[in-house]
Structure formats: C-alpha cells, structure tokens
Symmetry: C2
Subunit: 96 residues, 2 copies
DNA sequence: ATAATATATGAACGATTGCTCAACTATTCA
DNA sequence: TGAATAGTTGAGCAATCGTTCATATATTAT
C-alpha cells in the first residue's frame, strides 16, 4: 500500500502532537478531564505562556477543544483517538 | 494517573519516531517487509545518506532492526507496536 | 593488489521548535 | 472608573532537526 506524500505529512503532524514531553504531559492531564490553562500550568510547573503556546498548536490540530467560562478557558481532548494513541504508546513504553 | 517525567520523555521519543514525513514513509515501506537502504532510497526518492541517517535514529530507538548480507543492509520493523501505532494514526487521518 | 558498490558517518547549513519576556485583550471586582 | 486576574500573542533566542556534501569503512569483483 503506497502512502501519498500528503498523508505522510498528515500522519507526521498527528504524531508530532505527542512528540514533546510537555505536550505529552498536557495530554495526560486532559485525559483526566477538562482543565483551565492556569491549572495545567501549575500542575505541570510550566509558565502559563508556555502552556498556552502548546495549547494553541494542539487546538490548531483539533486535538484539543477550548471552552471559555468567565476569564478562564477550559481545555479538553477533542478526540478520543489521541487518548487511544497515548495509551497505546504508554503501553509500549511500560511493557514491551 | 500521574505520569512521571521519565515516561513523558520516553513517550515523546516514541512518537517522535513517527513525527517526520520521511520516517513515516520509511516505516510504511518496512511494513511491507524488509528492505535494503538503497531500495528504500530509490523507492522514497531520498538520498541514501538521508535514509541512512534516519535509519540510525530508528535503530537507536529499537524500532527497526538491521541485517547485513554481503555489502547490503536490510532493515525491518523490530516491533509490531510501531506498525500498530502507524495504522492507528493512518486510520485517524483517513477517517475521523 | 585496485576498482566498484553499499552503507555509515561527521561537519555544516538552513529550518523548525519550545521557551521566555513583554505587551496585549478580555473579563471581573471594587 | 481603575485595578486585578486569566489567557493570548509576537519577537527573539538557544537548541534541535533533517538534509547535503565529503569522506570513511566494509565487502565484492577483476
């Protein structure tokens, strides 16, 4: 089965979403449920700016969804595929 | 479930293997079966050097295995987990 | 021996990434 | 209204990445 260049790029972009430890930790938090930017930043000991920058990328890839409530913005996973990829990867890292 | 920093890094490294279109295409070729460096290079229209550099990374992550036969080196997937991640990602890109 | 072939490797380069910092918008509170 | 809070954004910078190019190593053929 021959992979088109477009699909290769799309696949690479998808996996890029989980190719950084900060983003992996963000995803792992969001698997527990939606969370505000500042809660994520505090829990992960990252600056709010850094978290926000990463969330923007995840949002653009439609892996994460934003819900605004007052002055807070709550993020959650937009797609259970990501959670599945995550848990499959974790399984590989832990056993195997 | 709290993710340790080590596991976050290991997960990120695993997904990094598929975070580049060239590597995705290499993996997609190797799913079909083992292949020499020059065959990969020709099929993917990449230089042998570029392919070799990428294969080294994949080898170091133990996602790919090398078998030397004469002056050729045949590469194959070392781990069916990668193929599973790949096809799961492809599924997400194609549908969903 | 020499030449040719297959692959690996290091240096160097531009491109991309992930962060910080400062400035900005939007919302709430007093 | 003005101050405080939550988040976003752009510029800038160091670090990393993926490639090319030249060179090196290993194997085979002559």
């Amino acid at each position: 089965m021959n992979l088109t260049e477009l699909k290769a790029i799309q696949l690479a972009e998808l996996f890029s979403a989980l190719s950084d430890a900060s983003r992996v930790r963000i995803i792992s938090q969001l698997i527990e449920g939606e969370m505000s930017v500042s809660a994520l930043a505090e829990g992960l000991k990252m600056s709010e700016s850094a978290v926000s920058h990463q969330l923007r990328g995840l949002r653009q890839m439609r892996l994460v969804r934003a819900r605004k409530d007052g002055r807070q913005v709550f993020y959650s996973l937009d797609d259970d595929h990501v959670a599945k990829l995550y848990s499959m990867g974790l399984d590989h890292v832990e056993h195997g």
